[in-house]
């Protein structure tokens, strides 16, 4: 049907996408354009310029926000990759309960982030279970740990919330490695640790990078978690919200949103590049 009616259909066939495109143009692209326009709008009447960007990227508060966002994202990404790698390696072979483990791994992604953040808040509260076990049961600490509303706390929360994004990517990469490779290595005399260092790790590198980028991407754009559990610490997504709704500086917020959007686009492109590398490298 496709090849037979080729070009003749393409024009009237394309009509099918029109309603959706029209809707998106009005509800999504126009607001996006308006945000970009707003970011270039200098508050004191009519003039256009980069003042809002200057205010953001040149100010102490602005740079602090970016630094905080980067710090949180990097720390959480490193930890998340550290968690995802052994997890992915362990999940390669089928075993009883593998489905359950996969299901559990998907939970933080599927549930609304708000609920996860709430649960984490309660868990790590001064009087929550973690502190209960550390202080009252195991007697490892004298005083409860302060986790909620702190930067290390946010890193832990990010870890819980976003590691599955990377774990899935790394698992997919790990699963595509021929299991015969490890058997071959063992027969040749290589211990498992050596195989990991010389074979698995090099072959996993593209997936690890892609997974890391994916996790970083999510951490960078995190909103609900820091909104609820960040306290005074406001990474960029929350700061945008605050600047817009509390300070009512819509244009300033727009500039920040554009900066964040651009950084995220760069990350998305890097991720797609890594993914392609991961797929290509397995062809041997």
């Amino acid at each position: 049907m496709r090849t037979r009616r080729g070009h003749a259909t393409s024009l009237h066939g394309a009509l099918g996408v029109m309603p959706l495109l029209a809707f998106l143009a009005a509800a999504f692209y126009f607001p996006l354009a308006s945000t970009i326009a707003g970011s270039l709008h200098v508050q004191a009447g009519g003039a256009f310029g980069f003042a809002n960007y200057g205010k953001f990227l040149g100010s102490h508060a602005g740079l602090e926000t970016l630094a905080l966002t980067l710090l949180l994202s990097l720390a959480a990404t490193v930890l998340a990759v550290g968690l995802s790698l052994p997890l992915a390696l362990a999940l390669r072979r089928p075993f009883r309960g593998k489905g359950t483990i996969l299901f559990l791994m998907m939970l933080p992604i599927i549930i609304p982030t708000l609920v996860g953040a709430l649960g984490l808040l309660i868990l790590y509260d001064r009087a929550g279970w973690i502190n209960f076990f550390l202080v009252r049961v195991l007697h490892v600490l004298k005083q409860p740990l302060l986790v909620d509303y702190t930067i290390p706390g946010l890193v832990i929360f990010y870890l819980w919330m976003f590691f599955p994004y990377g774990a899935l990517v790394i698992l997919s990469g790990a699963s595509s490695i021929d299991p015969a490779l490890e058997e071959a290595g063992a027969v040749m005399g290589a211990r498992p640790l050596l195989m990991f260092r010389r074979v698995l790790l090099p072959l996993l590198r593209p997936s690890l990078l892609a997974g890391a980028i994916m996790i970083f991407l999510q951490c960078f754009g995190a909103f609900s978690v820091p909104l609820i559990a960040g306290g005074d610490h406001q990474p960029i997504a929350v700061r945008i919200y605050t600047v817009a709704t509390v300070f009512l500086d819509w244009n300033g917020a727009s500039a920040m949103a554009v900066v964040m959007g651009v950084i995220q686009c760069v990350l998305v492109i890097a991720y797609q590049r890594m993914n392609r590398a991961a797929a290509g490298g397995q062809q041997a």
Binding site: L20, P31, L102, L104, A127, A244
Partner: protein
């Protein structure tokens, strides 16, 4: 089992347990907070079990109305998403269009960039159009996120529909209406159901976009959860969260049902 193998499986068991706890504990906390009373200070479990927080939620923050809002908006969003997505997916799956990949990126962009980035602009436009305090308005905002996902699901469903079945139907004498009713609809049903479920879930769970465009008459469950947390009412927030979680868990269990048999098969093949 040899003693060596039994010894090797103890740390593996411990690690598995640690992982399971790591993932599930936050949910357990929400459940305990939602169904327990007198749970302050350092205690393992609440002093009593109770449903009073649900009652409080209904009474103080009008949980019933919030639930109605959320479901109504989600239903409208689902319908509108499907209406927009079905023709779009059909076109993408079965016709030859120039610049198809650009088109697909243009449709999927709302799901690729962070919500806060475009929520600002959407809020401004929707406020100007007075859409913020109506079910339709909020639903339309949700459609921005739901419709692209629906298009993805439907396009893949339509792509796997064998065109020869349609030809066979025509050869056997169906007119267009009959073809649609007796051939296309049944074949497309699983894809339609999946797209509807995804759209509903996307709207029901949405937070960031809704936070920026909601009005007093359109408070949804996620927004109310946030408001309650912000006000310090953790127990009420937990109760609301439980209701918020139900569709997600139902959806996941449905997914698990479909995934489990596959895994069983994999286990046997491994032998």
């Amino acid at each position: 089992m040899s003693p060596a193998r039994a010894a090797a499986s103890v740390p593996r068991l411990a690690l598995t347990l640690a992982f399971v706890l790591f993932i599930t504990l936050p949910f357990v906390m929400v459940l305990l907070q939602a169904f327990g009373a007198g749970w302050f200070g350092m205690r393992l479990l609440p002093a009593q079990w109770t449903l009073r927080w649900f009652g409080w939620a209904i009474a103080t923050v009008d949980l019933g109305q919030v639930l109605v809002n959320t479901i109504a908006i989600a239903l409208i969003a689902t319908v509108v998403s499907l209406v927009l997505a079905i023709p779009a997916a059909w076109t993408l799956a079965r016709h030859h269009i120039p610049f198809k990949s650009v088109l697909i990126t243009a449709i999927l962009l709302p799901r690729m960039i962070p919500e806060i980035t475009f929520a600002l602009g959407v809020a401004k436009v929707f406020y100007a159009l007075h859409l913020t305090n109506s079910y339709l308005g909020i639903a339309l905002a949700h459609v921005i996120l739901a419709a692209p996902f629906a298009v993805l699901v439907l396009a893949s469903a339509f792509e796997t529909m064998d065109p020869r079945l349609l030809e066979a139907g025509q050869v056997l004498g169906c007119n267009t209406r009959q073809l649609f009713q007796r051939v296309i609809l049944p074949l497309a049903m699983p894809g339609l159901v999946a797209a509807a479920l995804f759209s509903f879930l996307a709207s029901y769970n949405d937070f960031v976009l809704t936070l920026l465009v909601y009005g007093p008459d359109t408070v949804t469950l996620p927004v109310q959860t946030y408001l309650s947390i912000g006000g310090g009412y953790t127990s009420v927030a937990s109760a609301i969260s439980v209701i918020l979680l139900i569709p997600s868990f139902l959806f996941l269990f449905g997914l698990l049902r479909m995934v489990r048999p596959e895994n069983l098969l994999g286990g046997l093949k491994g032998a």
